[in-house]
Amino acid sequence: MSHFDVELDTSGLNCPLPVLKARKALSEMDAGQRLHLIVTDAGAHQDIPAFSKMTGNPLIESSENEGILHFILEKGAE
Protein backbone atom coordinates (compact mmCIF):
# COMPACT_ATOMS: atom_id res chain seq x y z
CA MET A 1 0.00 0.00 0.00
CA SER A 2 1.13 3.54 -0.77
CA HIS A 3 2.31 5.76 2.06
CA PHE A 4 -0.19 7.85 4.02
CA ASP A 5 -0.10 10.59 6.64
CA VAL A 6 -3.39 10.08 8.48
CA GLU A 7 -5.42 6.94 9.15
CA LEU A 8 -9.18 6.87 9.73
CA ASP A 9 -10.94 3.64 10.67
CA THR A 10 -14.73 3.75 10.16
CA SER A 11 -15.26 0.01 10.63
CA GLY A 12 -18.82 -0.81 11.73
CA LEU A 13 -20.20 2.55 10.63
CA ASN A 14 -22.81 2.75 7.92
CA CYS A 15 -23.70 5.27 5.21
CA PRO A 16 -23.23 8.24 5.31
CA LEU A 17 -20.84 8.31 8.29
CA PRO A 18 -17.68 7.13 6.47
CA VAL A 19 -18.07 9.96 3.93
CA LEU A 20 -18.83 12.55 6.62
CA LYS A 21 -15.86 11.46 8.75
CA ALA A 22 -13.57 11.38 5.71
CA ARG A 23 -14.61 14.92 4.85
CA LYS A 24 -13.85 16.07 8.39
CA ALA A 25 -10.45 14.35 8.45
CA LEU A 26 -9.48 15.84 5.06
CA SER A 27 -10.53 19.31 6.15
CA GLU A 28 -7.94 19.12 8.92
CA MET A 29 -5.16 18.02 6.56
CA ASP A 30 -2.83 19.96 4.26
CA ALA A 31 -2.96 19.74 0.47
CA GLY A 32 -0.93 16.79 -0.76
CA GLN A 33 -1.26 14.80 2.47
CA ARG A 34 -2.79 11.35 2.19
CA LEU A 35 -5.60 9.76 4.16
CA HIS A 36 -5.89 6.02 4.65
CA LEU A 37 -9.63 5.37 5.01
CA ILE A 38 -10.85 2.02 6.30
CA VAL A 39 -14.53 1.21 5.65
CA THR A 40 -16.77 -1.82 6.16
CA ASP A 41 -19.89 -0.27 4.58
CA ALA A 42 -20.20 -2.07 1.23
CA GLY A 43 -21.79 1.01 -0.35
CA ALA A 44 -18.41 2.72 -0.05
CA HIS A 45 -17.32 0.89 -3.22
CA GLN A 46 -19.32 3.49 -5.12
CA ASP A 47 -19.58 6.27 -2.53
CA ILE A 48 -15.91 6.97 -1.88
CA PRO A 49 -15.00 7.33 -5.59
CA ALA A 50 -18.04 9.65 -5.99
CA PHE A 51 -16.93 11.64 -2.94
CA SER A 52 -13.38 11.83 -4.31
CA LYS A 53 -14.56 13.04 -7.71
CA MET A 54 -16.96 15.66 -6.36
CA THR A 55 -14.62 17.13 -3.77
CA GLY A 56 -11.42 17.14 -5.82
CA ASN A 57 -9.52 14.88 -3.43
CA PRO A 58 -7.95 12.28 -5.75
CA LEU A 59 -8.41 8.59 -4.98
CA ILE A 60 -4.90 7.19 -5.20
CA GLU A 61 -5.60 3.59 -4.35
CA SER A 62 -8.40 1.26 -3.32
CA SER A 63 -8.41 -2.37 -2.29
CA GLU A 64 -10.59 -4.89 -0.48
CA ASN A 65 -9.52 -7.52 1.97
CA GLU A 66 -12.12 -9.86 3.53
CA GLY A 67 -14.93 -7.31 3.37
CA ILE A 68 -12.80 -4.44 4.62
CA LEU A 69 -12.23 -1.65 2.13
CA HIS A 70 -9.08 0.44 2.10
CA PHE A 71 -8.84 3.76 0.30
CA ILE A 72 -5.99 6.21 -0.02
CA LEU A 73 -7.25 9.73 -0.67
CA GLU A 74 -5.01 12.68 -1.33
CA LYS A 75 -6.08 16.05 -0.08
CA GLY A 76 -6.51 18.28 -3.12
CA ALA A 77 -5.75 21.97 -3.40
CA GLU A 78 -8.70 24.08 -2.17
Binding site: L13, C15, P16, L17, A22, R23, F51, M54
Partner: protein, 154 residues
Amino acid sequence: MAKKLAIIASKGTLDGAYPPFLLASTAVALGFEVKIFFTFYGLQLLNKNLNLKVSPLGNPAMPMPVPVPSIVQVIPGLEWFATWMMKRKLKQKGVASVEQLRDICVETGVDLIACQMTVDLFDFNEEDFIDGISSGGAATYLEFAGEADVSLYI
Protein backbone atom coordinates in the same frame (compact mmCIF):
# COMPACT_ATOMS: atom_id res chain seq x y z
CA MET B 1 -20.02 27.86 -7.99
CA ALA B 2 -21.28 25.43 -5.39
CA LYS B 3 -24.07 23.07 -6.36
CA LYS B 4 -27.34 23.57 -4.53
CA LEU B 5 -29.72 21.08 -2.93
CA ALA B 6 -33.25 22.08 -1.93
CA ILE B 7 -35.29 19.68 0.19
CA ILE B 8 -38.86 19.82 1.44
CA ALA B 9 -39.18 17.63 4.56
CA SER B 10 -42.85 16.83 5.11
CA LYS B 11 -42.67 13.70 7.26
CA GLY B 12 -42.29 13.55 11.03
CA THR B 13 -41.70 9.85 11.59
CA LEU B 14 -38.42 8.19 12.56
CA ASP B 15 -38.01 6.65 9.11
CA GLY B 16 -39.14 9.87 7.43
CA ALA B 17 -36.47 11.86 9.30
CA TYR B 18 -33.54 10.02 7.77
CA PRO B 19 -33.62 10.99 4.08
CA PRO B 20 -33.58 14.80 4.55
CA PHE B 21 -30.89 14.91 7.26
CA LEU B 22 -28.80 12.15 5.69
CA LEU B 23 -28.81 13.67 2.20
CA ALA B 24 -28.28 17.19 3.51
CA SER B 25 -25.26 16.26 5.65
CA THR B 26 -23.73 14.24 2.81
CA ALA B 27 -24.39 16.99 0.28
CA VAL B 28 -22.52 19.49 2.44
CA ALA B 29 -19.60 17.05 2.60
CA LEU B 30 -19.68 16.99 -1.20
CA GLY B 31 -19.57 20.76 -1.39
CA PHE B 32 -23.27 21.58 -1.89
CA GLU B 33 -25.10 24.53 -0.42
CA VAL B 34 -28.21 23.03 1.23
CA LYS B 35 -31.55 24.31 2.45
CA ILE B 36 -34.25 22.17 4.04
CA PHE B 37 -37.80 23.48 4.28
CA PHE B 38 -39.78 21.82 7.02
CA THR B 39 -43.49 21.74 6.41
CA PHE B 40 -46.49 20.01 8.01
CA TYR B 41 -45.37 16.95 10.02
CA GLY B 42 -41.77 17.57 9.01
CA LEU B 43 -41.75 20.44 11.52
CA GLN B 44 -41.54 17.85 14.29
CA LEU B 45 -37.95 17.26 13.13
CA LEU B 46 -37.01 20.70 14.43
CA ASN B 47 -38.06 20.06 18.04
CA LYS B 48 -35.24 20.30 20.58
CA ASN B 49 -36.34 16.98 22.03
CA LEU B 50 -36.96 14.55 19.22
CA ASN B 51 -39.48 11.86 20.06
CA LEU B 52 -39.83 10.27 16.65
CA LYS B 53 -41.67 7.02 16.13
CA VAL B 54 -42.21 4.51 13.40
CA SER B 55 -45.49 2.65 13.00
CA PRO B 56 -46.14 -0.62 11.18
CA LEU B 57 -49.81 0.44 10.90
CA GLY B 58 -50.65 1.35 7.33
CA ASN B 59 -47.14 0.37 6.29
CA PRO B 60 -47.35 -3.18 4.93
CA ALA B 61 -43.75 -3.01 3.66
CA MET B 62 -42.23 -2.68 7.14
CA PRO B 63 -40.21 -5.81 7.95
CA MET B 64 -41.45 -7.38 11.19
CA PRO B 65 -39.91 -10.31 13.12
CA VAL B 66 -43.31 -12.07 12.93
CA PRO B 67 -46.24 -11.11 10.71
CA VAL B 68 -48.64 -8.84 12.64
CA PRO B 69 -52.13 -8.43 11.11
CA SER B 70 -53.34 -4.83 10.81
CA ILE B 71 -56.16 -5.39 13.32
CA VAL B 72 -53.56 -6.31 15.95
CA GLN B 73 -51.35 -3.32 15.17
CA VAL B 74 -53.75 -0.95 16.95
CA ILE B 75 -52.89 -2.56 20.29
CA PRO B 76 -51.29 0.05 22.58
CA GLY B 77 -47.57 -0.45 22.83
CA LEU B 78 -47.03 -1.93 19.41
CA GLU B 79 -45.87 1.38 17.96
CA TRP B 80 -43.54 1.78 20.93
CA PHE B 81 -42.19 -1.73 20.32
CA ALA B 82 -41.70 -1.16 16.59
CA THR B 83 -39.83 2.10 17.34
CA TRP B 84 -37.65 0.42 19.94
CA MET B 85 -36.87 -2.39 17.52
CA MET B 86 -36.01 0.01 14.71
CA LYS B 87 -33.72 2.10 16.92
CA ARG B 88 -31.95 -1.01 18.17
CA LYS B 89 -31.45 -2.21 14.60
CA LEU B 90 -30.10 1.18 13.47
CA LYS B 91 -27.58 1.13 16.29
CA GLN B 92 -26.54 -2.47 15.62
CA LYS B 93 -25.88 -1.66 11.97
CA GLY B 94 -23.78 1.42 12.74
CA VAL B 95 -26.31 3.87 11.27
CA ALA B 96 -26.10 7.39 12.68
CA SER B 97 -28.99 8.56 14.86
CA VAL B 98 -31.33 11.27 13.58
CA GLU B 99 -30.01 13.57 16.34
CA GLN B 100 -26.43 12.95 15.20
CA LEU B 101 -27.22 13.71 11.55
CA ARG B 102 -29.22 16.79 12.50
CA ASP B 103 -26.33 18.06 14.65
CA ILE B 104 -23.97 17.63 11.70
CA CYS B 105 -26.41 19.58 9.49
CA VAL B 106 -26.51 22.43 12.02
CA GLU B 107 -22.72 22.44 12.51
CA THR B 108 -21.96 22.42 8.79
CA GLY B 109 -24.29 25.25 7.95
CA VAL B 110 -27.33 23.59 6.38
CA ASP B 111 -30.06 26.21 6.29
CA LEU B 112 -33.04 24.87 8.26
CA ILE B 113 -36.25 26.73 7.46
CA ALA B 114 -39.58 26.29 9.21
CA CYS B 115 -42.69 26.77 7.09
CA GLN B 116 -44.38 29.72 8.80
CA MET B 117 -47.88 28.74 7.67
CA THR B 118 -47.65 25.29 9.27
CA VAL B 119 -46.17 26.74 12.47
CA ASP B 120 -49.30 28.93 12.70
CA LEU B 121 -51.65 26.16 11.59
CA PHE B 122 -50.57 23.70 14.26
CA ASP B 123 -49.86 26.36 16.89
CA PHE B 124 -46.29 25.15 17.20
CA ASN B 125 -44.21 27.01 19.74
CA GLU B 126 -40.98 28.23 18.14
CA GLU B 127 -39.30 28.08 21.54
CA ASP B 128 -39.53 24.29 21.29
CA PHE B 129 -37.42 24.32 18.14
CA ILE B 130 -33.63 24.10 18.06
CA ASP B 131 -31.68 27.35 17.78
CA GLY B 132 -30.44 28.79 14.53
CA ILE B 133 -33.41 28.04 12.30
CA SER B 134 -35.21 30.59 10.19
CA SER B 135 -38.73 30.71 8.83
CA GLY B 136 -40.17 31.26 5.40
CA GLY B 137 -42.90 30.40 2.98
CA ALA B 138 -43.49 28.95 -0.47
CA ALA B 139 -41.76 31.82 -2.25
CA THR B 140 -38.66 31.44 -0.03
CA TYR B 141 -38.44 27.79 -1.06
CA LEU B 142 -39.06 28.43 -4.75
CA GLU B 143 -36.50 31.23 -4.93
CA PHE B 144 -33.77 28.81 -3.81
CA ALA B 145 -35.19 25.71 -5.53
CA GLY B 146 -35.42 27.60 -8.83
CA GLU B 147 -31.64 27.80 -8.86
CA ALA B 148 -30.98 24.44 -7.24
CA ASP B 149 -29.32 21.54 -9.04
CA VAL B 150 -31.31 19.01 -7.01
CA SER B 151 -34.73 19.53 -5.51
CA LEU B 152 -36.50 16.89 -3.45
CA TYR B 153 -39.88 16.52 -1.81
CA ILE B 154 -39.61 14.00 0.99
